[in-house]
């Protein structure tokens, strides 16, 4: 694992200091995690949910959302009812 690459994938700048610290800590943790390699897992189904339920739906009915002013009150930066971000380049 290269902590810098992974941090970039997670869109999180890290300092050189953090990179060094996390690198050693996480490698230590991954060493422990590698114990899972001992197990023979052939034919074992993965568990994605703690409960086995299926077909949970909602009925297609519309209701008004939040008041606009309340939505924008949490916005770090807003203009003309839009959430503003630095210019997106394509």
């Amino acid at each position: 694992m290269d902590v810098r690459d992974v941090a970039h994938l997670a869109r999180m700048h890290i300092t050189a200091e953090e990179a060094t610290l996390f690198q050693s800590q996480l490698e230590h943790i991954l060493d422990h995690v590698r114990d899972l390699g001992e197990l023979d897992l052939d034919g074992v189904e993965p568990t994605a949910h703690a409960v086995a339920v299926q077909n949970v739906f909602r009925v297609d009915e519309a209701r008004p959302g939040l008041p606009h002013a309340q939505v924008m009150a949490n916005a770090p930066q807003a203009r003309n009812g839009l959430f503003m971000v630095p210019r997106i380049l394509e």
Partner: protein, 478 residues
Amino acid sequence: MSGANPYKVSIGLETHVQLKTRSKIWCACPNTFGSDPNTDVCPICLGYPGSMPVLNAEAVKLTVMAGLLLGCRINHYSKFDRKSYFYPDMPKNYQISQYDQPLCTGGSVPIEVDGKPKVIRIHRIHLEEDVAKNNHFETASGVDFNRAGTPLMEIVSEPDIASADEAFAFLQALKQMLVYGGITDGNLEQGNIRCDINCSVRPDTQTTLGTKTEIKNMNTFKGVHRSLTYEIKRQIEVCEQGGKIMQETRRWDDARGVTTAMRSKEYAHDYRYFPEPDLMPVVLDDAQIDEWRTALPEMPQARRTRFITDFGLPAYDADVLVADKPIADFFEATLAAGASPKAASNWVMTELLRMLGEQEWSVSEARITPTMLADILRLLDEGKINNPAAKTIFSVCFTEGGDPRAIMEARGLAQVSDEGALDRWVQAAITANPKSVADYQAGKKAALQFLMGQVMRASQGKANPPKVMQALKAQLDG
């Protein structure tokens, strides 16, 4: 391109279709277009901390019905996954989509180009959420989350499409089927259907596909056609010059008519798909799938046959009418309001389509209703108005709406059949045009038409033409 083209073209389309539901896919916010920015939003579609998605049953039903229309295999077990990537239009910075177990697999769309039929195979159809809309300004961008969470169905085709024309035909055919199926409104101008294009070329002798480029976010069929025409030519030129096609994402510049490479991503995408823990799998049994199959609406082919056999329409009329579902619906509703099939068909095919074309409107934008058209046809049938008057009333109804009879009265468009009035106009025409009268009596039948025109003009178009003809003949032949 000539038939002796030494290059083969392979195009695959990923078509995103917004589903026609009342509410969004995970929350009850209205699925509407055109509201003020950030007014159809809630903690769920804004990705607020603690909010959770609940799957809209109708979105599943519509996707499965689309699969049935396209002859897909409906998977009895399907699930949702998180697809991670950071972008301001993505409220959670992951999109809930379906990775390895989509709702539908396989299927096909029949197309016809230059009279040649072809089948484009479908790879899969999956259900996901639409993202927000970015608005770009000079120094910043602004995000409107109203669209975020709109149910979106992605139809992935196999790379069976071999030309820009075929791509266009595929999209047309797909849209027609989906609109007919009630799956989507199919409004391109509202972004109901958008697609990403994968395109590659290879020498005719090569069996494996060439390196593909991706053109993202196309929202008109014309644009797809133009961008593909350009891109195919570009790729062939690169090959001809011994160059190499780069696997890259390109953007269609509609104004310049070219595709350009997008700012190369410093990082290859790593979507880190994993099963969505907040949503449970969808398990469909045959009974459920059959129930939806039974509920499938009539498709264009079946409707065409019915128009011919039940209403006695010529094949040509039937083709024109069924091509666009809202038009066919308008036609049938006009019949239901009492009009005769042939008359309704004529008026829809000529007046309605012409005026829609002039305005670049969809039927729903015109004010005229099937009932109005039926009323106009009834007035015509009863001899209350003549044809020109009917067109005037139609035109008023088209742009403003209203009761045809009231329009007729308000504008004095009622046909005059009163013999006293007719006789006065006829007498005046004869008196004023002795030469024409002489010509007629000398055997020049065309002169009668001229006199007829004079009477109609004098009556400001309101005279009943057969009666005018009758009166003229009576006077002249007298």
